[in-house]
């Protein structure tokens, strides 16, 4: 039972990280039907910026929570800037191209960004400082859920609520929903679609960066390649929940995180990826529109 709870808690943590990344995929897909393959790299860059900022701040004598907040903030700003630039360079010129073109462009961008970080920094793993303090009140259940894990769960939950509010109640959120429903119509009624798309990329990137900072300080090390697998997993989660569907992405991410944790705990950690993809394939075959997605028939 204890073991089960432990696995569940680590599954949920994993799931929340996937969710933070998956939201970016799902929002972008919802609006321009593109798998932003490079989204995982934005997450990785977020983690790197946080690592560099916290490294510099530590050396210059800052301490504790102030580092965490500054690092996360700067990481978020940079991720947003990268996301914005990425869209402008690699996807905007291909808005009306055949479907395969922006996807290949995205794969290219993913390769580019990975190797950019590799060359600019290092191919090796870097030690990420433990930015999240240990809370005393967590002591009694620390063997099931540590402080870092709690912070991850809470931060993700807050981010997701924030996103929901943003989409539901703000002006830009409404514009996003309108664009998602029908880009041509949205443009006709005066929505600046280009801006909406940029904002979508920015929001997605910020969420991914938050994920990056959390993972970095939770796992304790990062390298240029972490974005790739995380990205693939997060995308899997988004598809699982029904791509384009925001609550679906969160649900899919949690299901995926738990599946992996249980598979790793009860079967073998070597095969956890196999299980993750196994679940994806099963879902796509049995329910191609995902857990919460609506089945749509293509108009002919």
């Amino acid at each position: 039972m204890e073991y089960f709870l432990e696995l569940s808690s680590s599954g949920l943590v994993r799931g929340s990280i996937y969710a933070l990344i998956a939201l970016g995929y799902t929002m972008v897909y919802g609006i321009i039907q593109l798998i932003n393959f490079a989204h995982g790299e934005i997450y990785m860059i977020g983690a790197f910026v946080a690592l560099i900022v916290s490294g510099v701040l530590t050396i210059y004598g800052f301490s504790g929570v102030s580092i965490l907040i500054l690092a996360a903030l700067i990481a978020a700003i940079y991720a947003a800037a990268y996301g914005y630039t990425l869209e402008k360079i690699a996807y905007r010129p291909l808005r009306n191209a055949p479907r395969l073109s922006p996807l290949i462009s995205a794969i290219g961008m993913s390769l580019f960004l990975q190797n950019y970080v590799l060359l600019a920094q290092t191919p090796d793993f870097l030690r990420f400082p433990a930015l999240i303090p240990d809370f005393e009140f967590m002591e009694p259940i620390a063997h099931i859920m540590g402080s870092a894990e709690l912070v991850i769960l809470v931060t993700s939950a807050i981010s997701m609520v924030g996103l929901t509010v943003l989409i539901k109640y703000t002006r830009i959120g409404k514009a996003m929903r309108a664009t998602q429903q029908d880009m041509v119509m949205a443009r006709l009624v005066g929505v600046n679609v280009d801006n909406v798309i940029s904002v979508t990329f920015i929001i997605g990137s910020v969420l991914a960066a938050i994920g990056g900072v959390l993972v970095g300080s939770y796992i304790g090390q990062i390298n240029f390649y972490i974005g790739f697998m995380a990205g693939v997993k997060a995308f899997t989660a988004a598809v699982l929940g029904g791509i384009g569907n925001v609550p679906g992405a969160v649900l899919g991410a949690l299901v995926l995180g738990l599946t992996e944790a249980y598979a790793a705990g009860y079967i073998s950690s070597a095969y956890e990826d196999v299980f993750a993809f196994g679940v994806l394939v099963l879902i796509l075959i049995l329910r191609p529109s995902g857990l919460l997605g609506k089945a749509v028939k293509q108009k002919v």
Binding site: Q33, L34, I35, I45, F48, V49, L51, I52, V53, G55, V56, T58, I59, I74, Y78, Y82, T85, I89, A90, P93, L94, A97, P98, R99, L100, S101, L103, I104, S105, I107, G108, M109, L111, F112, L113, Q114, N115, Y116, L119, A120, L126, R127, P129, F228, V232, T236, V239, A270, Y271, D273, V274, A276, F277, L280, V281, L284, I285, P288, Q298, V300
Partner: protein
């Protein structure tokens, strides 16, 4: 022009900001040292400025081109040099002879090291030609193509180490195993849309690697399989040099074979169905094409070549381990197809040779290789989606011939 310069300056500034933490700062958390690399900032600024100018110019040209196309000013009139070369027998026949001669004497004038690299490049030519069918002709994006390559290589490795089967027995088996896996993996994902296909095939690719890594009893795990024999020639004893030369000629034969076969398929009932499927799946099926059969055919055919190439790869290296079959290899083959011009055979060959040989000979380049691949993939999609050499559609001249036939 002034406006362009102003804007490019702004872009340069933006990129200086963007790359600042990663390019300039480097922290060593263990030793608590920060390294400030201010020179990088200068390079970024200059580079971004120059690239931005080029980008602007290229974008303006691109816009002009699409406007022209809209106004019906046909571009195909002034066909590119490459296209002309391929269409005029007076030009391409001598070129072909020169290439053939160069190909034949190549291993005799260079050393074994060069020959060996060339063999690797030719293996990627075959991989490119195979994936070109799946992606370029049939439009099925496959990001796990390397899995079939691994199937071929491990078919030979395993059959040889367990049962002592030789290269020539394993070659067809490897190809068929590739095709078989192509069908097996293709089957569950037939109905998926292009972008889902991408992620699922990527998943299959990683699964293949994980299984190889962890199934010690059969694949010997991460240690890999060593001592795989080179291709044999009626049991003749060969030293490394002659074995390599022999493998080279084998590969040449295989490339010629692959070109011949893909060419025939392209201009056939099957090839046309593949293209139609790529162009518009719904219309294609509504015109009576069986989607499942056609797609599986494309998967199997593409995977078949990967299987064959895998066997040769194992024989060339005499040693295989899971690290040769990562997503990077899949991405590499995909960039070969994209750069070559989807569906174009000659384009794929040139792209494969360039992408494999360049990093081998320009060591400095090899570090930046993946970075450049990435950039090239993006730029190609934006500025030259048809690839280096666009696929030329065949013209059928059946009408006059057939009226004569009818009279006869």
């Amino acid at each position: 022009m002034v406006d362009n310069i102003k804007r490019s300056l702004l872009v340069a500034l933006w990129f200086v900001f963007l790359t600042f933490p990663l390019m300039v700062v480097k922290v060593n958390t263990l030793k608590s040292i920060v390294e400030w690399r201010w020179m990088n900032m200068l390079w970024v600024a200059i580079g971004a400025f120059a690239l931005s100018l080029v980008w602007r110019w290229a974008m303006a040209r691109r816009q002009l081109k699409s406007k022209k196309a809209e106004q019906g000013e046909d571009e195909s009139v002034k066909a590119g040099f490459a296209t002309r070369l391929m269409e005029d027998p007076k030009l391409y026949k001598p070129a072909l002879i020169v290439i053939a001669l160069a190909t034949i004497v190549f291993p005799l004038v260079v050393d074994i090291y060069q020959t060996n690299i060339m063999v690797l490049a030719l293996i990627f030519v075959v991989l490119g030609l195979g994936l070109n069918v799946t992606v370029g002709l049939a439009g099925l994006l496959d990001l796990g193509y390397v899995a079939f390559f691994a199937v071929g290589a491990y078919t030979y490795g395993v059959l040889n180490s367990f049962y002592g089967l030789g290269f020539w027995t394993c070659l067809p088996i490897g190809g068929l195993m590739g095709a078989l896996f192509g069908i097996a993996l293709g089957f569950p994902i037939l109905r998926l849309r292009g972008d889902y296909l991408a992620i699922v095939t990527l998943g299959f690719g990683s699964i293949a690697k994980i299984v190889i890594e962890n199934w010690e009893e059969v694949f010997n795990g991460a240690k890999g399989i060593a001592g795989i024999p080179r291709p044999g020639f009626f049991g003749a004893e060969m030293n490394i040099t002659s074995a390599t030369t022999y493998t080279y000629y084998l590969m040449i034969l295989m490339v010629v074979f692959a070109i011949f076969i893909t060419n025939r398929l392209k201009d056939s009932r099957i090839g046309r169905a593949w293209m139609a499927l790529r162009e518009d799946e719904i219309a294609c099926v509504a015109m009576g094409v069986d989607m499942a059969k056609t797609k599986l055919g494309a998967y199997a055919f593409g995977a078949f070549w990967a299987g064959l190439a895998g066997v040769i790869f194992a024989a060339r290296n005499t040693y295989i381990n899971p690290n040769s079959f990562t997503f990077m290899e899949s991405a590499l083959v995909l960039s070969i197809v994209v750069m070559g011009g989807m569906g174009s055979i000659i384009g794929v060959i040139i792209a494969a040779l360039v992408l494999i040989l360049m990093p081998e000979y320009l060591r400095a380049f090899s570090e930046y290789r993946m970075l450049m691949f990435g950039a090239v993939m993006v730029l190609m999609m934006i500025f030259r989606p048809e690839g280096l050499i666009a696929n030329v559609r065949r013209k059928y001249t059946g009408r006059k011939v057939t009226t004569e036939d009818a009279n006869a």
